[in-house]
């Protein structure tokens, strides 16, 4: 299972990668914004985990682009963000995010959400 973690915070990328490792997922690549994320997707990914607020290209614009490209449009996407107001979640789901993890999060929450998007 190949994961792509997209977040401008190196701390948050490390926390997510540590969490994935604890959950048994160790094939993880990373990118610091949506534009880098699109480049990394050329190598393939089975699940995308992305932040919302990032420079260069936000998580919302990144997912909007991912959903328009035939090679990537069906990849499950988890958004991990502090933007957790109802309107935020509605906007994220509308552009094609499959599930939402609100920071701060526990490994159990991450596990549940990953299993849910993989089961779709």
């Amino acid at each position: 299972m190949r994961f792509l973690v997209v977040d401008d915070s190196s701390t948050m990328r490390r926390i997510i990668i540590n969490t994935l490792t604890k959950l048994g997922y160790d094939n993880v690549s990373e990118a610091a914004n949506g534009r880098e994320g699109l480049d990394r997707l050329a190598a393939g990914a089975d699940v995308i985990i992305t932040d919302w607020n990032m420079p260069e290209m936000t998580g919302i614009d990144f997912i909007r682009t991912v959903r328009t490209q035939p090679a990537t449009k069906n990849i499950p996407v988890l958004m991990v963000t502090t933007n957790a107001a109802k309107d935020d979640i509605v906007e994220a789901l509308r552009v094609g995010v499959n599930s939402y993890v609100v920071k701060p999060f526990t490994p159990e929450t991450m596990k549940e959400k990953i299993e849910a998007v993989l089961a779709r």
Binding site: S9, S10, T11, M12, R14, I15, N18, N53, T81, T82, N83, A84, A85, K86, D87, D88, V102, K103, P104, F105, T106
Partner: protein
């Protein structure tokens, strides 16, 4: 040093809850409120690391996090799962992310009450010595929340622009 009474209790309570939740889940430590929240103008925390995130909406202001450099290094190590001695360039990003999560969680909690999601800024982090933060407008209310984590002290401050 006076106990705060001016900023709405709900704002302070939600900030304290957000801080405790972020530390428990992302730093893997409990932070305990060390004293009742204080009028922010009454106390200047002795800190060399300050993280800030601004918010704007029906209520506008700043959430600030304060700690010493050593404590910030230990918090960074706990967040990243590494030894404090190996922390180097990671500290500013880690404290920025910690502040961002406290402010973001606070924003979400307040949106549940007001049904309005405030805009929030990207975090900024200042590291140094012999400095204090000053907000240009005097027309603000400040409340400082002291916390203990293990045997160390950290502070979270809420600065709110007065409503006109």
């Amino acid at each position: 040093m006076s106990t705060q009474t001016t900023i709405e209790t709900q704002l302070v309570d939600e900030l304290v809850s957000a801080t405790r939740d972020v530390f428990k889940t992302m730093v893997f430590r409990d932070v305990i409120p060390a004293a009742p929240p204080l009028d922010g103008s009454a106390l200047k925390p002795g800190s060399n690391v300050v993280g800030t995130v601004a918010f704007a909406g029906s209520t506008s202001g700043v959430v600030a996090f304060y700690s010493t450099l050593n404590t910030a290094r230990e918090l960074t190590a706990l967040m990243l799962g590494i030894e404090p001695a190996t922390v180097n360039g990671e500290l500013p990003d880690a404290i920025g992310e910690l502040t961002n999560m406290i402010a973001g969680s606070f924003r979400t909690r307040m949106a549940d009450h007001s049904h309005e999601a405030w805009a929030i800024s990207v975090p900024s982090v200042t590291i140094g010595s012999d400095f204090h933060t000053k907000y240009v407008s005097d027309d603000v209310q400040r409340v400082l929340c002291p916390f203990e984590i293990d045997d160390k002290e950290v502070f979270v401050e809420l600065i709110v622009t007065r409503r006109r």
